[in-house]
């Protein structure tokens, strides 16, 4: 078991004017599943590749288990990896593909056979061991890539968007399976994805990245519930967090004509406007006017099966609201909204950073 420590990693690609990773420091604890998530170009893959030894940082260090591996070639770092394109070898049978890492490390043949067999069982590939990759489906190829990565029993497992080439249904199935397998193995894992749902469901911790920096690092629910800035709130969750500009006056928040009591910790904030962030599922909706509820108008009604997703207009702002599936709603209808004060998050409109009590 191992820890991975990244310290002050800076990388600029030749020809690029911006840093791909800008002074990133991160630590993956022993046995932890850490997910790097962010939009494309945020530097998450670059970071992973520097840990893998496929990319050399301009400055900064990578240590695995306390050993500085920054200048070691990939093969001496004691890690294993699943690639986005699977990168399994088309000229080798499944058996040789899975056993490749063991063969390269001169493991005795009968032990290779035994371990390949076990890994194949774990990933339900036993019947396909003598096939070539071209004779497999996309999902099966992905299993081969995972089997090849886990069979070597490496201290650190790296995964670069391993599910992104699968279709939606398969991705959902394999996601759960992957989580089970990795937690059984207990391997320290660094996982890259651009899919926020994947990040939330897999990670022990999630690092949301933006423009080469880590915007927020924390447990999935923590990051989801208390985004450190507007970017994180807007990136995580489907639909993303709603943001409304409100005017702070005399201890009350004014959104259009409506007014809400402002929480105490905002009393020291005197910049006038604040941005209010609220998740769609934290907004209650009613067709009747009630005291303290804010009037709004329905624009779009989207049934998702389990719930009803409403796009409503409140003053000049558009909001996504999650209503019960049975809620009677139609476009242009007047509704009334309310949110628990504890579910509201507040952001500085100029920096986008969270305004917290701390």
């Amino acid at each position: 078991m191992s820890t991975v420590v990244m310290e002050n990693l800076i990388k600029t690609y030749s020809g690029g004017d911006k840093r791909a990773t800008d002074d990133v420091s991160l630590e993956v604890a022993d046995g932890e599943f850490l997910v790097l998530v962010g939009p494309s170009g945020c530097g998450k893959t670059t970071l992973l590749r520097m840990v893998a030894g496929l990319e050399t940082p301009d400055s900064g260090t990578v240590s695995i288990d306390g050993r500085d591996v920054t200048d070691l070639p990939a093969r001496e770092r004691g890690l294993s990896m699943v690639f986005q394109s699977y990168a399994i070898f088309p000229h080798m049978r499944v058996r040789q593909n899975i056993g490749f890492g063991l063969t390269m490390r001169k493991v005795p043949k009968d032990e290779v056979d035994r371990r390949v067999k076990r890994a194949a069982e774990l990933l339900q590939l036993s019947e396909y061991l003598d096939r070539y990759p071209a004779q497999l489906s996309g999902g099966q190829r992905q299993r081969v890539a995972v089997a090849r990565a886990i069979v070597v029993d490496a201290a650190v497992l790296l995964m670069d968007e391993p599910l992104s080439n699968l279709d939606a249904l398969l991705r959902l199935q394999f996601r759960a399976e992957l989580k089970r397998i990795v937690s059984q193995l207990g391997t320290t894992t660094l996982y890259v994805t651009h899919d926020q749902a994947e990040a939330m469901s897999l990670g022990d911790r999630v690092a949301v990245m933006r423009e080469g920096k880590v915007a927020q690092l924390g447990a999935p629910l923590e990051v989801y519930d208390r985004p450190a800035d507007q970017f994180v709130g807007g990136f995580l969750g489907s639909p993303p967090m709603n943001f409304l500009t409100a005017r702070l006056r005399d201890g009350a928040l004014a959104i259009g004509d409506a007014s809400l009591p402002a929480p105490d910790h905002l009393s020291t904030w005197d910049a006038g406007d604040v941005v209010v962030g609220v998740r769609a599922e934290n907004i209650q909706v009613s067709s009747d006017a009630q005291p303290g509820w804010v009037p709004a108008r329905v624009e779009v009604v989207e049934p998702t099966g389990a719930a009803l997703l409403l796009t409503v207009r409140l003053a000049d702002e558009q909001l996504k609201v999650q209503a019960p599936a049975t809620f009677p709603a139609s476009p242009d209808q007047a509704v009334h909204l309310r949110a628990e004060p504890s579910a509201l998050r507040f952001y500085d409109p100029s920096t986008g950073l969270a305004l917290t009590t701390r």
């Binding site: 070639p73 093969r75 088309p90």
Partner: protein, 271 residues
Amino acid sequence: MSGPRRWRRAAVQAACVAVTLFMGVPLYLITLAALSSRESLNRFPLPLLPTDPSTETMSTFLRSTGVTGGFINSLTVGLGTVVLALLVGVPAGYAVARYAFRGKDTYQLFLLLVRALPIVVLSVPLARVFLDTGLYDTTYAVMLIHTALALPTTVLITAAIFVGVSREQEEAAMIFGASAPQAFLRVVAPQALPGIAAAAMFAFMLSWNEVLGATVLTLNQRTLPAQVLTTLSDSPLAYRFAGGLALVLPAVVFIAVMRRYLLNMWGTTLR
């Protein structure tokens, strides 16, 4: 099956037959003539079936001066060219496919420029240089100029094939314990084999067919085409057919050997 589709298939079949005949009929006629006796060649009407096979023409040709030597020289030069062209061209193709380097575009342009120069223009100054260095009239001289001529195709073909093997596969190999050369040998090279075989075929064919350079750069160490060409005009008809067959056969054999590498090797096409 619908009407238009059937017509289409029939047309494709017909085209295949036509192309095969186009290539095959001359080969057949040459073989027939080379295996006929001198008298039967002059008979009228000429029989189109091997009614009277004879090895007389062929054996006369093979026994005439310079043919055996030329044959051996041609083989030496051809195989030598393949080896040299692959030795230099495969790494060059790999570099073109994998790395961005200063002057890459210029390099690719200059590669093709070699073929823009007429061989005579290359050969005459080279003859001078080879005379000074003592390489003149050796198979090495011909091998060198043929390698130079074959390199552009070798580099371009292998580069195209290396582009087809994803970089991630090499990276995967290195993650799982391979050094860079091992990753190349175990992962890239096996997949590039068809392309390398095609490049080898081109190099061999080019060398086998090239006459001008070989004629200018040698006097006694003629390759077979150079030998046949210089003596052809004074030869009887039968000798020309025999020479033709002798020139075609090794090339056909070489292609037949390399062909199995050209076909996809793993039952299905590579992805």
